[in-house]
């Protein structure tokens, strides 16, 4: 399986947090507790990857580990929400399979998802 740089690990499993990890050696004092948070199964998403996303924003200098965790949980809620909303459209179409167009419809219909318009081609 060849992954190009631009394709960065879309299909990664949860225990495969590679590619998009500009991790540094220093400044990892909180790595222990964050690892612990994963171990405690508090977050279903890899906190390190979320941290990488946050750091990709040039305006972001520092973020507490709490903030990374909260975003992780918020993201879970977001995913559930958008899936549920899209499901409505699938059911309208008498389908059991959630499709891309269901998500498009949900994004268009719901105000909170307005920020997503234009990000998907």
């Amino acid at each position: 399986m060849a992954t190009t740089v631009s394709e960065l690990d879309r299909s990664g499993a949860e225990d495969e947090p590679r590619s998009a990890e500009p991790e540094e050696d220093g400044g990892n004092g909180q790595a222990g507790p964050i690892a612990a948070a994963q171990q405690h199964r508090l977050a279903k998403l890899p906190l390190s990857r979320i941290k990488a996303l946050m750091k990709a924003d040039p305006d972001v200098s520092l973020a507490s580990q709490e903030s990374v965790f909260i975003i992780a949980k918020a993201t879970e809620l977001f995913v559930e929400m958008i899936a549920k909303d899209a499901l409505v459209y699938a059911q309208q179409g008498k389908r059991k399979t959630l499709q891309r167009k269901d998500l498009d419809n949900a994004i268009e219909a719901i105000d909170e998802f307005a920020f997503l318009e234009g990000t998907l081609d």
Binding site: T3, V5, S6, R10, S11, G12, A13, D15, P17, R18, S19, A20, E21, P22, E23, E24, G26, G27, N28, G29, Q30, P33, I34, A37, Q38, L42, P46, L47, S48, R49, K51, L53, M54, A56, D57, V60, A63, S64, Q65, S67, I70, I71, K73, A74, E76, L77, F78, V79, E80, K84, L87, K96, Q99, D102, D104, I107, F115, L116, T119, L120
Partner: protein, 204 residues
């Protein structure tokens, strides 16, 4: 599977276990404040500067969360999963950017939990705030447990770790003094911190 340099664990300064197991074992360095991460020493920063839109959360995790939201009999098309994957990255950037702005406005450098909650509220995700506060509480409790077993050296630890948690050891309430008389003397000294693995200092 390892095509690019970013998967070189030695370069990233992480152990092999990090890549294989479900647990993240990163080499910790306690010289830093444990509240924030910063970007001083990005050894491979120039090489691995990914744009926000290139970073995604693993699709398996995303798909699993989606499945929670739909009936068991339901299925999710692959392009739908990918779509949500992209939306997620967008969502995180969106929230982070808003939180970061507020932080700057208040002349602070570190984005904290409150900033995120405020950003949620501002951006129309007000309904998340209460559940998130609950999760935050759980997180804090879990972290308290972890902090308690952080090893400290005798010389440094005594200065910094003098919290109430450190004073787990006390002299017994009754002391037998030299003249054989038992006295109820409570001697509360700093030397009796019972930090596991640390040699106790006896002041006589």
């Amino acid at each position: 599977m390892d095509g690019d340099s970013t998967t070189d664990t030695t370069q990233l300064g992480i152990t092999g276990e990090y890549m294989t197991g479900g647990t993240y074992v990163l080499q910790t360095q306690d010289d830093d404040g444990d509240e924030s991460f910063n970007d001083h020493e990005d050894g491979n920063g120039s090489k691995d500067h990914f744009r926000e839109q290139d970073i995604y959360l693993p699709i398996a995790n995303v798909a699993r969360i989606m499945k929670n939201a739909i009936p068991q009999t339901g299925k999710i098309a692959k392009d739908a999963k990918e779509c949500v994957q992209e939306c997620v990255s967008e969502f995180i950037s969106f929230i982070t950017s808003e939180a970061s702005e507020r932080c700057h406005q208040e002349k602070r450098k570190t984005i904290n939990g409150e900033d995120i909650l405020f950003a949620m509220s501002t951006l129309g995700f007000d309904m998340y705030v209460e559940p998130l506060k609950l999760y935050l509480q759980k997180f804090r409790e879990a972290m308290k447990g972890e902090k308690g077993i952080t090893p400290v050296t005798v010389s440094e630890g005594l200065g910094e770790e003098l919290t109430d948690d450190s004073f787990t050891g006390q002299l017994p309430a009754g002391l037998i003094t030299a003249d054989g008389q038992q006295q109820n003397v409570m001697v509360y000294t700093t030397s009796y911190q019972q930090i596991p693995g640390i040699q106790q200092i006896q002041f006589s």
